[in-house]
């Protein structure tokens, strides 16, 4: 026992020595960076980046030690790309005129899922190579370099298929996984604050699918967001506690029926029941949560359509009937009360007061 403690002690000492050496090295490196800045820039010049780095910006301030612990920035990229004053300088344009902002807001970085991946994990090779076509296709391909399975599904999905150099309407990875749309803000799927946490999925899809102009171009006329929020599933998810993941995971959101990376369009019928996307096999989709469901159960689901007199006359006219019946009855009730309150109340109150004075109140 004693020897084990001793050996442990010696290990601890060795660790402490290593730590001290490491710290000393770090001090040397950091201060060296300051002292021999000229040498460092000379070395950098060998990798042909000086053409895009503005003169004098090849050495930045040391990374904020507090922030540095929360995300990785080994190459000190943020000394320039995290400088708000350079945002204007670092905004370039795509061929279609849309801006690419090269400024990275570091405040959100600590909460992102890839915070310990260094910038160069994605911005590989020469990050300053301006030839890299930055668009939704290249972005998804970049994510796909690690997330291969999701990328393969996405490429074949309704969102992935219609991506082209001239059309970036459809969602790419960051449109759903990042609250800001920036790849630097990708969030953990099961973070309750994440844009794709079950409670937030509908709102995330609604960013595009609640936009009638955009959806009109693709023949999607149903008001999918409002109809979902009115539905049992929508109400259940809206009224589940923010932090209750079990209850939320138990409730159907958009992706439960339509799929996520493998979303298919329902209008052309290329959805596959196996992936629970599309409604060509609606019953199979319903059954994935309601195993007892029968064919009639499916007909009770009106889709995302508003109830209309043509498709569902009974529901439409029945609903109207109940609506006006309720209002008529309530109006009648109000009328009885209002007339009763009117001119006869005075005499009742006088008599009540008189009886109260007599003390014969029961």
């Amino acid at each position: 026992m004693v020897s084990r403690y001793r050996s442990g002690g010696s290990k601890g000492r060795r660790g402490a020595v290593l730590l001290l050496v490491g710290m000393a090295l770090a001090v040397v490196v950091v201060s060296g960076g300051w002292l021999f800045a000229g040498k460092a820039s000379a070395e950098a010049a060998t990798t042909d980046t000086t053409s895009v780095i503005p003169p004098g910006r090849d050495k930045g301030p040391a990374p904020d030690p507090d922030l540095a612990k929360m995300f990785s920035d080994k190459k000190n990229c943020l000394s320039c790309h995290g400088d708000k004053s350079l945002e204007g300088l670092m905004t370039i344009k795509r061929p279609d005129g849309s801006p690419i902002v090269l400024y990275v807001d570091r405040t959100g970085l600590a909460g992102t899922v890839h915070r310990y991946k260094d910038c160069t994990s994605c911005h590989t090779a020469d990050p300053h190579d301006k030839k890299s076509p930055l668009n939704k296709i290249s972005l998804s391909a970049k994510c796909g370099s690690c997330h291969e399975y999701e990328y393969a599904q996405y490429k074949d999905s309704v969102h992935g298929k219609i991506q082209s150099a001239t059309n970036s309407d459809a969602a790419t990875c960051t449109d759903c996984h990042s609250p800001t749309g920036s790849p630097h803000n990708i969030q953990r799927v099961l973070d309750p604050k994440s844009s794709i946490y079950p409670k937030n999925v509908a709102a995330t899809c609604a960013k595009c699918h609640n936009n009638p102009q955009l959806m009109g171009q693709y023949g999607i006329v149903e008001r999918v967001y409002s109809s979902y929020m009115r539905s049992f599933h929508g109400k259940s998810i809206e009224l589940s506690p923010d932090q209750s993941s079990i209850q939320q995971l138990d409730t159907a959101t958009c992706v439960s029926c339509h799929g996520s990376h493998n979303t298919h369009t329902i209008s052309t019928g290329d959805g596959t029941a196996g992936s629970a996307s599309g409604t060509d096999d609606l019953l199979a989709t319903c059954k994935s949560c309601h195993p007892e469901a029968g064919p009639e159960f499916v007909t009770g689901f009106l889709g995302h359509k508003d109830v209309n007199s043509k498709d569902e006359p009974v529901v439409y006219w029945g609903g109207k009937g109940f609506k006006y019946f309720s209002r008529f009855m309530l109006g009648f009730g109000l009328l009885t009360v209002a007339t009763s309150v009117s001119i006869r109340s005075g005499s009742y109150i006088r008599r009540k007061l008189k009886r109260g004075k007599k003390g014969s109140e029961e």
């Binding site: 929020m229 049992f232 929508g234 109400k235 259940s236 809206e238 009224l239 589940s240 506690p241 209750s244 209850q247 309601h290 007892e292 469901a293 029968g294 009639e296 159960f297 499916v298 007909t299 009770g300 689901f301 009106l302 109830v307 569902e312 009974v314 529901v315 029945g318 609903g319 109940f322 609506k323 019946f325 309720s326 009855m329 309530l330 009730g333 109000l334 009885t336 009360v337 007339t339 009763s340 309150v341 009117s342 001119i343 006869r344 109340s345 009742y348 109150i349 008599r351 009540k352 009886r355 014969s360 029961e362």
Partner: protein
């Protein structure tokens, strides 16, 4: 102890008996489950409201609220069944007269019109009600209709998969519409009409306790149900103004030999 019919037995001191213990229990079951159903159901209907979200968090989420809603629904259904059994036993087993006073008739429409006229000052003739006023009959049958709709719709919503096995699929969205619209009607009716006539009415304020005690003060019975009151008084050989508020009840029969034989029987 009789609570119906024109019988002297119904007089209990300064009170007239009106509801038996079963009716009072049924009402307690009904209103307590109604309140729970309303406060757990309305936030589901108005799920987008911030207040609903807050209230749902108080209960720990919609799963808990739904469970409580279902539990209260069973209590309300039980009160409905209790009432039907109570009626059946009364009429078939105990061979009591069919409570035809509760059946609506043309007289109720006349009463309604006359009541409006009187309340608006077009007539000085106050409507004379029997055992049940048109308003009470309406409340009773509205609860009956509402229960059928709410329980029927609610059961479909509780078991949509099972319901679709024996009913057409469109019954589910229809049940949702019916259940939620009828719920708002019921809550609105209780808050506006029942709250006024059972609590806020100047004659009643602060509340009409008869559904809990089973008894109505004589002067109130004289005011609210003069026709039945007259029959009871006649049956008890009491003067009509025995319960009038100017003369407090039990006008000292010992002093007037005329009333001697008709002493109000002591009730235990």
């Amino acid at each position: 102890m009789a609570t119906t019919g024109a019988s002297a037995e119904r007089i209990d001191g300064k009170y007239i008996r009106r509801f038996d213990v079963h009716q009072r229990i049924q009402h307690i079951m009904m209103f307590s489950s109604f309140i729970v159903l309303a406060i757990t159901g309305l936030p589901m209907k108005f799920s987008g409201w911030a207040s609903s979200q807050w209230w749902m968090d108080v209960w720990g989420g919609i799963a808990n609220l739904r469970t409580v809603h279902h539990g209260a629904a069973y209590v309300m259904m039980a009160s409905f069944v209790y009432h039907l059994v109570y009626l059946g036993v009364n009429i078939i087993v105990l061979r009591r007269p069919f409570p035809k006073d509760m059946l609506p008739g043309i007289q109720d429409v006349k009463d309604l019109v006359q009541d409006f006229k009187y309340n608006l000052g077009f007539s000085d003739q106050k409507v004379q009600f029997g055992r049940f006023s048109y308003r009470e009959k309406f409340d009773y049958w509205a609860v009956g209709w509402g229960l059928v709709m709410m329980v029927g719709g609610g059961l479909i919503l509780m078991h949509p998969v099972g319901a679709a096995k024996i009913l057409p699929g469109w019954i589910i969205p229809l049940a949702l519409v019916a259940h939620s619209d009828e719920a708002v009607l019921a809550v609105g009716w209780i808050l506006i009409v029942h709250m006024y006539f059972a609590h806020l009415h100047p004659l009643i304020f602060p509340m009409n306790k008869s559904i809990f005690t089973g008894k109505v003060p004589m002067h109130l019975y004289h005011e609210e149900h003069p026709l039945e009151y007259a029959k009871i008084m006649a049956a008890a050989n009491l003067p009509l103004d025995a319960g009038a508020e100017e003369k407090p009840a039990a006008p000292a029969p010992a002093e007037s030999p005329v009333f001697m034989p008709a002493r109000v029987p002591e009730q235990s």
